[in-house]
């Protein structure tokens, strides 16, 4: 343990602030056409980034060496934690997560500066200056309001308080870094947009420059959100994966606006349209990433993620105001130079489809943002805090989501400017036919397989609007399945037509034609693969409509049947290790065909560091058809009784499969489009290696949950075959299973 560690950390933060200011000054000075200044600014940016890396490594050392003089280390770690969780504790609390944000930003800054070597000279000074402003903001917040190196006021404790048990799992170690990667990566396109606005170079230059960076940000936002869903699913223990929690929403918002941007950018690239819109979307996306960080870190809205209420909220509010005011002022200043050079000539054009898709995505963004912040606005306007629940979100967001899903399917069928009647006939026949056929088949035989086409739901709001929403809600299963069929057919058809056209031109075999086709048009076909992944995710979301839930109190030896699956409670098991006491409820599962599926063991854990906060550990039996999800409510070991929540969640696994496909598609789109002759063999190899490394990281992040499942399956809920005892007592259901698929 180094004696001056806390002082060293704070000094590094201060020095990094000074360096960021120095870099900013050099970058601004170089904008006047001074190459020497720019070279110095570039080197200074590397220096600033390295110093920030030093700072976080010093904090990491403090965690590893249990330096409990530092308050943050004492609050978020203890001596019993393994090294992995000690490192994860870096972003487990407010102060450290701000430093983590800054560290990722410094990584992106160094990468961008390196990438910019010898290109976009006119934009470079402003790009570096903008990134430095963001860096300085986070430095200021940490130095004045959330210093991760602050020492304990009342002396050094013998041991730390330990990390919140909810955060001690594999998802905690990968979900925040991934989401933050997405958040921070949005800074780069924003910096380019600001550079374009300030320098007045508002043609397609900056759009081309940020294309890959925005795709990268979008990819990490997607993975981060998916891992967030998974964390909620396996850790929070309420049976679902998305509860419209304010912080979940905050991470969804930039994803929605970034999705809108990756589509609308094509309008500017191809038709020189929607220039203001693109600048707005980039600024909005960055604004929403800071807003998301603000919501998570300030504790202004109650959430499962929120940290304690702190004064950093004020800093964030000022910064949000600064971003909004600067972006708006610059856009207004440059309005005369942002006129579109073309307009939408037909509603049956790709331009119109993209604009409609953008409005739907922006509508969803605004709706989620307003509903999420409603507790604050209602308190300010109505003097009472009104919280909007998941049912409300689901009722309104489902139609919006399905509209986006429909547009996602239709947009690839349209051509630029207008679609000829012949193209409409050839393009639309199969997808629409497939959608109609699916709807008919689903309506006719869906209920036989436990997936009825219509599921009647309760009205959420009264009056005619409520009635309409209820009817729309009831038809969601059949609409979603037919739209999924439409999307799948469109993707298959686009690949088919492309391969056929290429075969006609080159005479290649189908496989070679497919590989050549994708290789020559990575962004287009990578995008289609992403659409395919999202379609799979929608199929997974659809399963929610047929979910069955039940709650029961059981004594050892009693059974309970839910949706045809029999659960027999065999008894309570007690275990302990150095960190916690564990109570497992062993439940033998017999499926609908009478086959023994082993034992699931949902549990209650009581960590020694926080004995008053027992955690709920779920047990899940996965399959592609459905998940059996068990949560133990309370356990009376003496009486041998426990209360059990059982959920049958159909099709959930398709969501995680969809995410893997989505990552694969995004990786295809991200693959560099440089030619060997342009950069040389070494340059090409370097670029390919960089992209491959990024892709592997993304795939690793997306696939880690699978290994986590495997790991969890062995350590937490051992599924072992066990004979079903005869004479099981009758279940005493507290609540009848809600909804039935049979």
């Amino acid at each position: 343990m180094l004696q001056s560690m806390p002082d060293l950390g704070t000094s590094l933060l201060l020095t990094a602030l000074v360096l960021a200011g120095y870099t900013f000054a050099l970058a601004v000075a170089s904008a006047n056409g001074r190459p020497r200044m720019l070279a110095a600014a570039r080197l200074a940016a590397y220096g600033t980034s390295s110093l920030i890396a030093t700072t976080i490594l010093v904090l990491a050392y403090a965690f590893v060496s249990h330096d409990f003089r530092i308050s943050y280390v004492a609050r978020y770690s203890d001596r019993s934690m393994p090294v992995g969780y000690l490192i994860a504790a870096l972003w487990g609390g407010q102060d450290g997560s701000l430093l983590w944000w800054l560290f990722l930003l410094s990584g992106f800054t160094a990468s961008v500066v390196f990438w910019l070597r010898g290109r976009y000279v006119a934009l470079q000074p402003y790009v570096i200056a903008t990134l430095m402003v963001i860096t300085m903001f986070f430095e200021v917040v940490m130095i004045f309001a959330a210093d991760p190196f602050a020492t304990n006021t009342f002396g050094t404790p013998m041991d730390g308080s330990g990390l919140n048990p909810l955060l001690q799992n594999i998802y905690m170690t990968i979900h925040p870094p991934s989401l933050y990667m997405g958040f921070v990566a949005c800074s780069v396109p924003f910096a380019f947009a600001m550079a374009a606005l300030i320098s007045g170079r508002l043609d397609n230059e900056w759009i081309v420059a940020v294309r890959q960076w925005m795709l990268l940000a979008w990819l990490f936002l997607s993975i981060g959100n998916a891992l967030g869903m998974l964390w909620a699913y396996v850790e929070l223990g309420w049976g679902g994966y998305w509860a419209w929690d304010p912080v979940e929403n905050a991470s969804l918002l930039p994803w929605l606006s970034a999705t809108a941007y990756v589509h609308s950018t094509m309008l500017q690239e191809r038709r020189s349209m929607v220039k203001i819109w693109n600048l707005f979307l980039i600024s909005l996306t960055f604004f929403l990433t800071i807003f998301g960080t603000f919501l998570t870190r300030s504790g202004v809205i109650a959430s499962v993620h929120s940290f304690a209420q702190s004064e950093i909220g004020t800093y964030f509010l000022w910064f949000l105001g600064f971003i909004a005011a600067t972006s708006a002022a610059l856009i207004v200043w440059r309005l005369p130079r942002l006129r579109a050079e073309a307009s939408i000539e037909s509603p049956w054009s790709r331009e119109a489809a993209f604009v409609a898709n953008n409005w739907a995505l922006l509508g969803a963004t605004v709706f989620v943002a307003v509903a999420t912040t409603f507790p604050i606005t209602s308190k300010a306007l109505l003097h009472e805090t009104v919280t909007v629940g998941p049912t409300f979100f689901n009722r309104w967001m489902v139609p919006v989501g399905l509209t986006i899903f429909l547009l996602m399917g239709l947009a690839p069928l349209f051509g630029w400017r207008k679609t000829s009647p012949k193209a409409v006939r050839t393009g639309f026949v199969f997808p629409l036919g497939a959608a109609l056929l699916t709807a008919v088949v689903h309506a006719a035989v869906g209920h036989r397989f436990g997936y009825p086409a219509i599921v009647v739901s309760d009205p959420v709001v009264s009056g005619p609007v409520g009635s309409v929403l209820q009817r729309v809600g009831s038809t969601v299963p059949v609409i979603t399945s037919s739209l999924a069929a439409l999307n799948l057919t469109v993707v298959i058809q686009e690949f088919w037509r492309g391969v056929m056209a290429r075969r006609k031109a080159t005479g290649e075999n189908p496989l070679a034609a497919l590989v050549g086709l994708v290789g020559k048009a990575r962004r287009r076909y990578g995008g289609y693969v992403v659409h395919f992944g999202i379609t799979l995710m929608f199929i997974g979301f659809l399963g929610q409509a047929w979910g069955v839930r039940g709650e029961v109190s059981l004594k050892a030896g009693e059974s309970y049947t839910i949706d045809g699956i029999t659960l027999r409670f065999t008894g309570v098991r007690h275990e302990a290790d150095t960190a916690k006491e564990m109570l497992f409820a062993d439940i033998a599962v017999t499926d609908r065909s009478g086959k023994d599926r082993g034992v699931l063991s949902p549990a209650k854990f009581a960590y020694r560091s926080r004995p008053d906060q027992p955690t709920t550990e779920i047990a899940v039996l996965h399959s592609m058809r459905e998940d059996l999800y068990l949560v133990v409510g309370s356990v009376d070991q003496a009486a041998g009784r426990m209360t059990l929540q059982a959920h049958v969640n159909p099709l959930v696994s398709w969501i995680w499969v969809g995410v893997i496909v989505l990552v694969f598609g995004a990786a295809i789109s991200l693959w560099p489009e440089v030619s060997l002759s342009q950069v040389g063999a070494w340059g090409y190899a370097r670029m390919a290696a960089t992209t491959l490394a990024g892709t592997l990281l993304a795939l690793l992040l997306a696939a880690l949950p699978a290994s986590a499942y495997a790991f969890g399956g062995q350590s937490r809920w051992t599924a072992r075959p066990q004979a079903t005892a005869s004479g099981a007592a009758q279940a005493a259901p507290i609540q009848a299973p809600s909804g039935s698929r049979r």
Partner: protein, 251 residues
């Protein structure tokens, strides 16, 4: 770090001032204002440069080795020390550039003046043109729209190419001068060929030989020998469709 940086060894290149993207050459005298650091020759400088380049990798390797033998704490400390030294090195280099002790000011200025974004702009427009061809082959776009859009993209591509030519003009002249000098030193051409220099100064390009030219079958326009499409009507010059035209887009 200690390369010779006197005025004589690193004169300001006219190209640095000739382009709109980095128009200033006022820093040129500053670039050579200081003498090299005493005691460090060119070889030592190269060694230092290589050491700086491989320093991060060495730090990581050392951290892994020490981490496996002495625990994670020491590995983290080694990484922190490596990052700190990198920071100091980068800031020191930045100050050197600013003070004129380091030639990077000029060395950076040269690539800075070369085209960067324009090359990507050109690639983007070429992709858009290929995408257009692809959409036409799928029947997603009418002939009229295809022609209109193609005309727009080609006009924009022309602008970018002109900009590229303009930016590279100084470098091209320098390359041609060096080539002429080399050829003259070998006695292959006469030094100071007035006619060729005058033509070059006027920006003239040698006309292709007559047999290199081709006539468009659709409109009869005379085209360059390597043209794949007619420059007037856009009709393909070859009957066989090129492989790269199918599916060669990026959207």
């Amino acid at each position: 770090m200690s390369k010779k940086t006197s005025k004589g060894t690193h004169p300001a290149k006219p190209s640095a001032a000739a382009t709109p993207s980095a128009p200033s050459s006022s820093t040129a005298p500053e670039a050579g204002a200081r003498m090299p650091a005493p005691g460090l020759d060119e070889k030592a400088s190269r060694v230092l440069h290589a050491a700086r380049r491989w320093f991060p990798a060495a730090g990581i390797v050392l951290a892994i080795v020490l981490g496996s033998t002495h625990g994670v704490g020491l590995a983290v400390l080694v990484l922190a020390a490596t990052a700190l030294l990198l920071a100091v090195s980068a800031i020191w280099a930045s100050l050197q550039v600013l003070a004129g002790d380091r030639p990077e000011g000029i060395e950076h200025a040269i690539p800075l003046t070369l085209a960067g974004g324009e090359i990507e702009q050109k690639a983007s427009l070429l992709r858009a043109l290929k995408d257009l061809e692809f959409e036409r082959s799928l029947g997603k776009i009418s002939e009229q729209d295809y022609e209109d859009l193609k005309r727009t993209y080609r006009a924009r591509a022309k602008q970018v190419l002109q900009q590229l030519d303009k930016q590279n003009e100084a470098a091209r002249r320098e390359a041609e001068r060096l080539a002429d000098e080399y050829l003259a030193s070998r006695g292959l051409v006469q030094k100071g060929n007035d006619a060729s220099e005058a033509a070059r100064d006027a920006g003239a390009r040698p006309e292709p030989a007559l047999q290199d030219r081709r006539v468009c079958g659709a409109c009869g326009t005379d085209n360059e020998g390597d043209a794949r499409f007619c420059k007037k009507c856009g009709s393909p010059m070859n009957a066989k469709v090129d492989e790269s035209e199918v599916g060669s887009d990026a959207s």
